[in-house]
Amino acid sequence: MISCSEALRQLWEYLDGALDATDRAQVEEHLGLCRRCCGELEFAEELRRFLASSAHDDLPDDVMRRLNQTLEELGP
């Protein structure tokens, strides 16, 4: 079975679906037996959700106005 550090190194790739079948099976085997790494996995999932939910910034009206002005003034 792979070590904790090896499993943790591949955790995000595992969540991204970026591992090949062999590596994926090894990570899953490890997760099936290691409670601490399961905690790491759950936190990595939370962190991914947290990043995705932090992606939006309001575009202030004055900035939008200036950007629209730029678009209207574009040359031929």
Binding site: W12, A55, D57, L59, V63, L71
Partner: protein
């Protein structure tokens, strides 16, 4: 008469081109602004202005309307990188051995900043507002910040980012790995330094 007709057609085609570009750009402005805020912070508006001007000049290179959002993002990323380079003073020194060993999950568990919490790790994340997330991202070297923002915040695939940055997929995957570790480490450092954990005893 023929010359006049050609002139009118040319003028009409130029107007169509400008309108097509403006329609594409207007739809994308909020999303592009959000990306720019994460890549260059307070310089976001300037970077986006650069992007609009450059993109319009190259609009003829866009062959497929559906590719417009990714195409604009690619130009914006380069404008942000140009602005970042112009402002960079010296490379940030990073001890990657230390970063590689760092686990935010374990750090939070061991330090236990919220002793009365039933959901310690979620409470830690809950302390971060949008400004804090931006500040943490801006602590990362651009090399790692760009793929992190594009993949985990804007939903691009790693191979799409490889195309935007004109680097191999393996390079993007390696930068994502280091970027995630750095982000975790910087989240903890920022939380400590900015007093986000100060209410831990409540």
């Amino acid at each position: 008469m023929v010359g006049l007709r050609v002139g009118v057609t040319l003028e009409s085609s130029r107007t169509d081109r400008r309108e097509s570009f403006s329609n594409l750009a207007r739809d994308q402005l909020p999303r592009l602004f959000s990306i720019a805020r994460r890549l260059v912070g307070a310089d976001a508006e300037d970077a986006l202005q650069d992007c609009l001007l450059k993109a319009f000049q190259r609009f003829d290179q866009l062959n497929e309307a559906g590719a417009g959002p990714a195409w604009l993002t690619s130009i914006l990323v380069n404008c942000c990188r140009d602005r970042g380079r112009a402002k960079a003073r010296r490379p940030v020194e990073i001890d990657f051995d230390e970063v590689e060993e760092f686990s935010l999950y374990r750090k939070i568990a061991y330090e236990d900043p919220f002793p009365y919490s039933d959901s310690l790790h979620l409470d830690f994340l809950g302390e971060f507002g949008p400004e804090d997330v931006r500040a943490v991202l801006l602590r990362l070297p651009e090399l790692y910040r760009v793929p992190l923002v594009l993949v985990y915040m804007d939903g691009f695939l790693a191979r799409e980012v490889a195309g935007m940055l004109d680097v191999p997929l393996g390079t993007v995957l390696a930068r994502l790995h280091r970027g995630r570790k750095l982000f975790e480490k910087q989240m903890w450092d920022y939380a400590e330094q900015s007093g986000l954990l100060a209410g831990g005893a409540r």
